[in-house]
Amino acid sequence: MDYFVGIVSIVISGMLTNNIVLNQSLGICPFLGVSKKTQSAVGMGLAVTFVISVSSCVCWLLYTFVLDLLDIGYLSTIAFILVIASLVQLLDIVLKKLSPSLYGSLGVYLALITTNCAVLGTANSVIAQGLDFFQTLMTGVSIGLGFTIALILMAGIREKQALYDIPRPFVGFPIALVTAGIMAMAFYGFSGLSFT
């Protein structure tokens, strides 16, 4: 029973209390870049969710059955990032073939997902916590959804902001950062949530 509670707490902490963008401040470059239109934000969020969950599972398998057994843990950074980069490029090729429309709205940012700190950050934290396979999958999915939630909220706000005249120095990234800061304050409120 408490294994199930553990899973629920992982999912909730991934999405709300420990949001990858607003609490751990990882994966901010695409977060600031893509969040202009809600439609492309949804696309980007789903792509990141897919990449994070698949890559954290693959990295977990790679770590436990290869790196850990041979005690070459120091190579984990290289192995993980190699897997992530290749996965993103494969996603890029497959997406271009299957749905050019979705690829159109995400085109520029697929390459950025590789350097997205959230993906490698999740892979590393999953290994550090020593979770088992199913927990890893749930963490990856919940962190990806957390990223998507933050991205869609941000896109909604920034679309509204485009209508008002913002003082000249704040136009563009500064106002996005300040908005993200205020959103982070709101998400900080979730940290009171506990599951005992």
């Binding site: 070459i72 120091y74 190579l75 290289i78 190699l82 550090a128 020593g130 005992t196």
Partner: protein, 221 residues
Amino acid sequence: MNKSIVNALKSVAVLVCVSVVCVAVLAVCNMYFPKYTPTLDRATAERINAICPTGVTDGEAFDKKYIVMLGSDDHGVDLDKYNKSNKSKKAEILAVYGEPKGENAFSYIIESSSTGRDGDIVILIAYRDAVIVGAAVKKQGESYYNKLPAELFDFLTGKSGDVDLGAEFGKTGATLSLNAINRAVNLSNDFAITYNSAIRNSMTDMASAAETNEKGEAVEL
């Protein structure tokens, strides 16, 4: 062999040789770089004296060998082999110190470590007949360390065998660090129980040897 196969092989060749060169450099460095080997320096002696008082000042305890580092030949245990066999526990025993003489004679201190949220946490636990008499953290880089309950180490004194800190303190802000400390404590308790007699005998021989040459010195004087 059509064009795409040739291209594929070319990129495979390039990527493989780039990664081979990089990993070779790293592997060689990893072998020849000095690893963190615990040594009995003054600071460690002070900490040990704090959790398991030898009855003399820290400086004296260090100089006069009240606190001694027990090598594997003393207690007959190969630490690396022991750590390898306990891989699943995700914690390691780094060193064993002993106090052949002084107030808490024949008590020993085990230094064990486990990876927390931001790197390794190294803790020192003092035992007397496999029962904890004191514990403290030697080295840690945890960003949420101040979230850990203050009375954590007091709770440990008097305990032996497996301990469950999570049940005792519930959800603290630093669960990862708490789990790491928990794993390190359990492993060193386990080590203490299995090798208590071995360490004790080695310390008694050491103490008697120390007495003989001390008497010898007295005689020469």
